[in-house]
């Protein structure tokens, strides 16, 4: 297998983007990725457009996005894996390039959500659970993750105060990220006093719905070396699935097997382990999710993810800084764009361009992106 490199990255401002449509958001991210790679659009021989299309008004968005980006008549692929759409899109593009069918591709993660209300969005997200056996009872994404939180609290004594530390940390880093939806730090007290969404999760334990796009331009080793002198290499790709229904899952619901399986595959392919990772982006859809992710990725033992937080080990300067761009909680979560946004942040870190969020000497980065309530999980390892 030849190496595949990321040669350019782009990112829009995330948030309530009532100034822009889906195609325009995609263009912003794509255009800045071309500038970043310092290449012209005609170099791109195919696009992968990643979006959970039920939130967009546009059906089959790859069609209009490829047109608006000027990427006709090259092949375009629509990839949907709920919140993990663009991590799965990257795997798709990786396989297409490895196969020899393509040389240089654009992976465009894009989502336009805020034309819908949060209630309407949660109705759609509830149907990203099992639509026969769970959605008819009024499920939502916060409700599903709250059930994992309840189980983790009961088994390990995890507290709401500990969960609040995730939001405090990520909002602190969000305040340094001009692309983040929320630019203001927040206190633990504000998190704890926020209104309940699905107990034990409260408003500030949740990520927010948002509009936005992020783009990665990737190329085979030969082209990557020719086109740029600072490629970031895709060293490991892990992807797994798990039953969509909670009833179909095993164990006490205090961890995600799907992430453990994806992590195992990614570590194996990259030839590294959790202790080798210098900087990580994990899927903090909710505060509790970040804690579970520490454990499932092997950064902490089962039940002790909260200790990493309390000791500041996932802060800048700690053993393994996590979500130094603010994570989903501060950036907002434009579902299809989030995976590419995580890889944008890691690429900046590994090129030593992360500014005040820079992890000194970062060489190995890991991104983890969960789809929906954990029916998909993708782990991607990048090397400088």
């Amino acid at each position: 297998m030849g190496r595949i490199g990321i040669i350019g990255v782009g990112h829009t401002k995330f948030g309530k983007r009532n100034d822009a449509s889906l195609r325009e958001l995609a263009f912003e991210a794509y255009s800045s990725a071309l500038d970043d790679a310092d290449i012209v659009s005609s170099r791109i021989d195919g696009s992968v457009v990643c979006s959970a299309t039920h939130y967009d008004k546009q059906r089959s968005p790859a069609g209009v996005v490829a047109e608006y980006l000027g990427l006709n008549p090259q092949p375009t692929f629509n990839v949907e894996a709920a919140c993990a759409s663009s991590a799965v899109g990257l795997r798709t593009a990786w396989a297409l390039i490895t196969s020899g069918l393509h040389d240089v591709m654009a992976v465009v993660g894009v989502q336009k959500m805020t034309e819908l209300s949060s209630e309407e969005i949660q109705e759609l997200m509830g149907r990203a659970g099992d639509v026969m056996w769970e959605s008819p009872f009024g499920t939502t994404m916060p409700a599903y993750y709250a059930m994992y939180a309840t189980a983790h609290m009961a088994k390990y004594g995890t507290t709401e105060e500990q969960m609040a530390l995730v939001t405090v940390k990520n909002r602190k880093y969000g305040s340094k990220n001009p692309n983040a939806m929320f630019q203001k730090p927040i206190t633990a007290d504000e998190v704890l006093k926020s209104r309940p969404v699905s107990a034990p999760l409260k408003l500030f334990d949740c990520c927010a719905n948002a509009d936005g796009a992020a783009c990665l331009i990737i190329a085979n080793a030969e082209k990557a070396k020719k086109l740029t002198d600072r490629p970031v290499w895709i060293a490991g790709l892990g992807l797994a699935s798990s039953p969509m229904s909670l009833a179909g899952r095993k164990g006490p619901l205090t961890s995600f097997d799907v992430t453990k399986n994806a992590a195992k595959a990614a570590y194996q392919m990259a030839g590294v382990g959790p202790n080798d990772v210098d900087v990580a982006e994990v899927h903090d859809s909710f505060s509790i999710t970040e804690i579970l992710n520490y454990e499932d990725l092997g950064f902490a033992k089962p039940g002790s993810g909260t200790r990493l937080l309390e000791k500041g080990e996932t802060e800048l300067g700690g053993k393994i800084p996590v979500n130094t761009d603010g994570g989903l909680i501060a950036k907002g979560h434009p579902v299809g764009a989030t995976g590419a946004s995580q890889l944008f942040a890691l690429t900046k870190q590994l090129r030593n361009e992360a500014g005040s969020a820079q992890v000194d000497g970062a060489k190995i980065g890991l991104a983890q992106n969960i789809g929906g309530i954990g029916m998909y999980s993708a782990v991607t390892i990048l090397k400088a």
């Binding site: 026969m132 499920t139 939502t140 409700a143 209104r195 107990a199 229904s245 909670l246 009833a247 006490p252």
Partner: protein, 135 residues
């Protein structure tokens, strides 16, 4: 009779496991069992995963279960908003199979914890909707 009657608000109207509704009407909760290998499925399945046979029979469950986890939902999709807050739970039945179900509002919230013994019972929704909940 369409399966959209299942639940507080059903989304799926057509399925092979429609007979579940007739059991619910009789006040019973039933699982499917593969006629060839005997594996039991709940929620019911029309097709056996082990031997790929689709000849099934229905077996009535006793409903005894242990709670695995739960949440109290305050922010809900529009059709469910009038019922907020409501409890959702995941429980394990005595045969080891699991069920995702609402928890009856009659259950004392303060008592809820993983391991709590509850019983899966038939519940009536608005109109002629039918489902099950933990009580």
């Amino acid at each position: 009779m369409g399966f959209e009657k299942f639940g507080r608000f059903g989304y799926v109207s057509q399925t092979k496991i429609n007979p579940l509704l007739s059991y619910l009407e009789k006040g019973q909760i039933a699982a499917t069992k593969c006629k060839k290998c005997g594996r039991t499925y709940f929620p019911p399945r029309a097709d056996c995963l082990d031997c790929r046979h689709s000849a099934i029979e229905w077996v009535v469950l006793d409903g005894k279960s242990n709670l695995i986890t739960f949440t109290n939902v305050f922010f809900a999709p529009p059709v469910f908003q009038p019922e907020t807050p409501y409890l959702l739970g995941l429980a394990e039945l005595t045969n080891g199979l699991r069920v995702f179900a609402p928890i009856s509002p009659a259950v004392d919230k303060e008592q809820l914890k993983p391991g709590l013994e509850l019983s899966l019972k038939v519940a009536k929704g608005s109109g002629d909707n039918l489902y099950y909940w933990l009580e």
